[in-house]
Symmetry: C2
Subunit: 276 residues, 2 copies
Amino acid sequence: MEKWKEFLVTLCAAAAIGIVSIIFVLRWVLHYKEGLAWDGGLAEFNWHPVLIVIGFIILQGLAIIVYRLPWTWQCSKLIMKFIHAGLNLVAFILAVIAMVAVFDFHNTAKIPNMYSLHSWLGLAAVILYCLQLVLGVGMYLIPITPVSWRAAFMPFHVYSGLFLFTSVIAVALMGITEKLIFGLSNPKYKDSPPEATFVNVLGLLLVVFGALILWIATRKSWKRPSDQILHTLHTDGGGEDNSKVGPALSELSAGADAETCGDVRRRSNKLDDQED
Amino acid sequence: MEKWKEFLVTLCAAAAIGIVSIIFVLRWVLHYKEGLAWDGGLAEFNWHPVLIVIGFIILQGLAIIVYRLPWTWQCSKLIMKFIHAGLNLVAFILAVIAMVAVFDFHNTAKIPNMYSLHSWLGLAAVILYCLQLVLGVGMYLIPITPVSWRAAFMPFHVYSGLFLFTSVIAVALMGITEKLIFGLSNPKYKDSPPEATFVNVLGLLLVVFGALILWIATRKSWKRPSDQILHTLHTDGGGEDNSKVGPALSELSAGADAETCGDVRRRSNKLDDQED
């Protein structure tokens, strides 16, 4: 792998910031706010930021870069696809529970649902994330899907994955803004009490986490070796028109999917359907 | 160009949504709010969303995709670089005026500055955008900069450009959230008055505009033909390690920069320093 040290430093930075973000969101709700409970009150609302940060941001970020981890390159692409899909599924479930917590809290407190831009974009992100998950499983985990379809759909799968991840962070920043305005009364947000500064820093951490994940995900030289070969093939074949590589893929992908851990060296000249 | 119709449809959609966004933000401040003035009051504040949407979002978006417009491919890369830098400079100036409007309004109304996550991220975006502009001019418009430096810096220039553009939209969404909470009192934001719904739609339009610009910017087959050749060279040469293409570039870039409009056909086998 090229620039191994750079990759490792970036990965460790992302991991560290991810862990610190989780500590920050937990400290926010446990120290500054009402703690965690499932009682229809503010402590139930607090599950919302906790599950969004842990699930919809950190786990989704991990799911995005899971193919980039060099120590997974000796595992079959199929196993990695299941891990990728599994992490995204857990992230989706946690996002849904996070949404239920807010609806439950709103209904108990007689606060209207779905009035804010945060709620519009948040619901849209959850729905599109579900669609992305269903299409991803249909395209890349159901064996009968034609390989040419897989290749043709890949640019959309990658783009919408990264776009949804970015959108979720943007929506979280809007949520933080809302919560600090509504949740701080004496002193108010504008008086910069310690909680406000602390949670602003959480927002900054989420942005830096997002930036690192997007950097890792978009470095071509950090891809799985087989996907790098495929990328070259794509580019030589005329850019994004992945259908052109269909025939090459159809000859090779079945074998690649059937491999088990340890087969990576034997596989170095094969191509699979460029999951990442 | 591959998929010409798809490109044109995407571009027209982005242009249409950009124009509608400008109409929306103008209608917001002129119809729902206090109009526009430079008097230290709310009408001065209103320059903030107007200039951010027109300058920091729409103009920046145009600056990002200006190399993708096929009818500019007959112009020299140098002219296009000046247009790219010029649009970004205008966007930066409008963003600074937008910030001054807010500081002026806050100071007059005795509202603290720089307490919110929106203000932290917004100021960071303006500072980093300025840095990006200075580094971009230093790298790609000053003739003495070594071509190997230009190539090595390009992945960072492209990544940070797209990341800043995305961040600015996220910050704008936070700003919309703040303004709707603070600016609506009777009825409140949670009561969904027409202004709230109208401005939420503006937020959605900005997200879709961003999605379309990012899609156009990240399609390899929509690049200037010379940059597509360079992309293949990068990939074959080992992914992101652009320094490897330095020697090839140094032979070709001077000629490419010196060309004038109409030279594109003669230039089809040359490479320049992949501005986009």
